[in-house]
């Protein structure tokens, strides 16, 4: 039996479904229990509980005109919609809505690559185009451009950008929303709007210049609910001549401070892609009982103690893998420059050459990349990351469960902030019975001007207790992060309000502004209620703040 939208009668809902069927064909309106269940969030930490976000029905348009028709019907009948692109935002809601009872607008069938311009290094795509699809389109035409992809390649190029997703190459490309250029949006009244140069009646530079004229409103459609995005332009990276990596290691725990500063300087000059920080000392815990005892000792370990251990075993405290893309001679020079700069800043620095590729790789060469590197670093989508998504392991071979969601606060991109976050977050994790890498925390550098201190929390299809604990842990961690000025950059559906609550400057002025926009643009509150922590007026419970 369908989970109806709040406040909508069976009669109105049935009328809406009939009109959706007339607009897009009954084949593409999913309303049976069996079909509706396909839209459950596969990684929901609320699975099987009353709070699980369930859909009432799903509609799958194949054109912008059909999206307009759906939106107009929904606006007239006040039916809440929730657009998804490929529905693979696992860990952040998947194919499910935030508001139970929403009708999912499944854009997977809108899967056209509108254009790829090799010379201008850009493309325009629809929401149903996955990274696999776009990569295949480019390869089949032997175009000399690269995409920047996130770890799971089945995600939507549009959807990932709209959720502020990230990748691995140079900063201007791996910030996926930042690399977008012009979009087409169906507004809540059913009207189609385009942004940037795409707003020109005879546009010829959709994906060349972001701003067009007037206010830059495209940002309103990322992690938000002011319309349904039906096309987006993106900047693509020119296929580089070559790629190489090198790893730099430093001996002492406090060396992370100058190491981060130096790596930042490299990145800020545009010399490297996403740096990969690691801690060999942290990795050594598994094989070094003496180190484990030191890290767990009452009162904590001192830097001097840790550094003595590291020196005695010849284990670096930190390392960072640097990635260079470009002409072979240029990136060789960049690597030499990086070594010189960092060795001058940090005594005892050591270096190790990594992989070296010239492009294009042959299919045979590409098939071997995962032996000692990662395909996502060279713009090749894949799904290998699911190796770490849970499931069976050698230690737990009968575990038929799996999945996770993410706690991902933004922390300043400095070594001092990293060590501070490690100490404070370790305490917060202890308070909810979890472990954290207190002494050697490693950041994700997907967004090139900030660290994301991401960690995963398990979900279960079988055990509600695991889900309850993960939700409670998330709430506590988000609170501690907020107290320290660290806000999450994305959120699972159950966390959107607690995350938005942290962005509270001047009595939640930002949220109140978002709500003002929401009420003006979408007065019936039909688009993606709750997304970005923005609720329509009829669902808000914070009116006293306004």
């Amino acid at each position: 039996m369908a989970t109806l939208p709040p406040g909508i009668s069976n009669e109105v809902f049935s009328n809406a479904l009939s009109r959706f069927e007339a607009a897009i064909g009954s084949e593409w309106v999913f309303k049976s229990d069996e079909d509706v269940a396909l839209y459950r969030d596969a990684y929901s930490p609320e699975r099987g509980e009353p709070t699980e976000r369930l859909v009432s029905a799903a509609v799958a348009p194949d054109s912008v005109e059909q999206v307009q028709a759906i939106v107009r019907i929904a606006n007239e009948l006040k039916i809440p919609l929730y657009p998804i692109s490929t529905g693979k935002n696992l860990g952040y809601g998947g194919s499910a809505p935030i508001l139970s009872g929403s009708v999912v607008v499944d854009l997977k069938r809108m899967n056209k690559v509108i254009s790829v311009d090799e010379g201008r290094c850009s493309c325009v795509v629809e929401p149903g185009v996955s990274y696999f699809d776009l990569h295949r389109h480019i390869r089949e035409r032997d175009l000399k451009v690269w995409i920047d992809c996130p770890d799971p390649g089945w995600g939507s190029v549009v959807g990932n950008a709209l959720d502020h997703g990230v990748g691995y190459t140079y900063g201007q490309y791996r910030d996926h929303f930042g690399s977008h250029c012009g979009m087409e949006v169906v507004l809540p009244n059913g009207e189609v709007m385009r942004t940037g140069m795409a707003a020109l009646a005879n546009e010829d530079s959709w994906a060349d210049y972001k701003y067009g004229f007037g206010p830059y409103v495209a940002g309103l459609f990322g992690q938000a609910n002011f319309g349904i995005v039906t096309k987006m332009g993106f900047w693509l990276m020119p296929q580089p001549e070559a790629y190489r990596t090198g790893t730099i290691s430093v001996p002492k725990r406090q060396d992370i401070i100058p190491l981060v500063a130096q790596v930042n300087h490299l990145e800020n000059q545009g010399l490297i892609g996403q740096p990969g920080f690691r801690s060999p000392m942290s990795a050594a815990q598994a094989r070094e009982p003496e180190l484990r005892a030191l890290l767990e000792k009452e009162g904590g370990a001192s830097d001097a103690e840790l550094d003595r251990f590291a020196e005695s075993k010849g284990i670096p405290s930190w390392s960072v893998e640097l990635k260079f893309y470009g002409p072979e001679q240029t990136i060789a020079g960049s690597w030499e420059y990086a070594k010189a700069q960092i060795s001058a800043a940090v005594p005892g620095t050591t270096f190790e050459d990594g992989v070296r590729y010239r492009f294009p790789l042959s299919p045979e060469e590409e098939a071997q990349v995962h032996r000692n590197h990662r395909l996502v670093d060279i713009g090749v989508p894949n799904l290998a990351i699911f190796t770490i998504a849970g499931g069976r392991t050698a230690q737990n071979p009968d575990n038929a469960d799996g999945g996770q969601f993410y706690f991902a606060p933004i922390v300043p991109r400095t070594g001092e902030a990293l060590l501070d976050a490690g100490r404070k977050m370790a305490q917060a994790y202890r308070e909810v019975g979890l472990r954290y890498n207190e002494y050697y925390p490693t950041p994700a550098c997907w967004h090139y001007r900030a660290f994301i201190m991401i960690s995963s929390l398990p979900v279960s299809r079988l055990d509600p207790e695991i889900n309850r604990h993960s939700r409670e842990a998330y709430a506590h961690l988000a609170q501690v992060a907020a107290e320290n000025g660290w806000g999450e950059y994305r959120s699972p559906p159950f966390g959107v309000d607690m995350v938005m609550d942290a962005y509270s400057f001047n009595n939640h002025a930002l949220r109140r502004f978002n709500e003002t926009l929401k009420d003006a643009v979408d007065p019936n509150g039909i688009i993606a209620a709750g997304r970005g922590g923005i609720w329509p007026k009829y669902l808000r419970d914070n009116e006293e703040d306004v």
């Binding site: 396909l38 799903a58 849970g390 071979p397």
Partner: protein
């Protein structure tokens, strides 16, 4: 309810895995060819023979290698000869472990039938 669904998946898997009793189907070669295309689009990235992170197996292949460690069932999905269409449909439409379910806008019912034809082509 969901516990029961997953339990059902496990039971089906155990039954067909251990007995390897699925019968060959009478699918046409065209269906098998089209099913291979569905497999290559949706399944092979996790269940193929490719190389995963660190030189290991791909995620789905790795999981099935552990699951069937004490049997002669191949870890690579399209090398198996023991799966029935019903079993494949349950896995595709409900997911299992960290594998999500697939919607009909991703794998349509007709594409699922083709996939079944491909994955059961060598059943004994």
């Amino acid at each position: 309810m969901k516990k029961h669904l997953l339990y059902m998946v496990t039971i089906i898997a155990a039954c067909h895995g251990l007995t390897a009793c699925a019968q060959g189907t009478s699918s046409s070669s065209a269906e098998v060819t089209q099913g291979k295309e569905v497999y290559d689009k949706w399944c092979v990235h996790c269940h193929g023979t490719g190389i995963g992170l660190g030189g290991g197996a791909l995620p789905g292949t790795q999981q099935l290698a552990i699951k069937y460690r004490n049997s002669d069932i191949p870890a690579v999905l399209d090398q198996r000869t023991d799966m029935t269409p019903e079993f494949i449909e349950v896995i595709v439409r409900q997911g299992v472990s960290f594998m999500p379910q697939f919607r009909k806008t991703e794998v349509s019912d007709s594409e699922l039938a083709m996939l079944n034809a491909y994955l059961t082509r060598n059943n004994r």
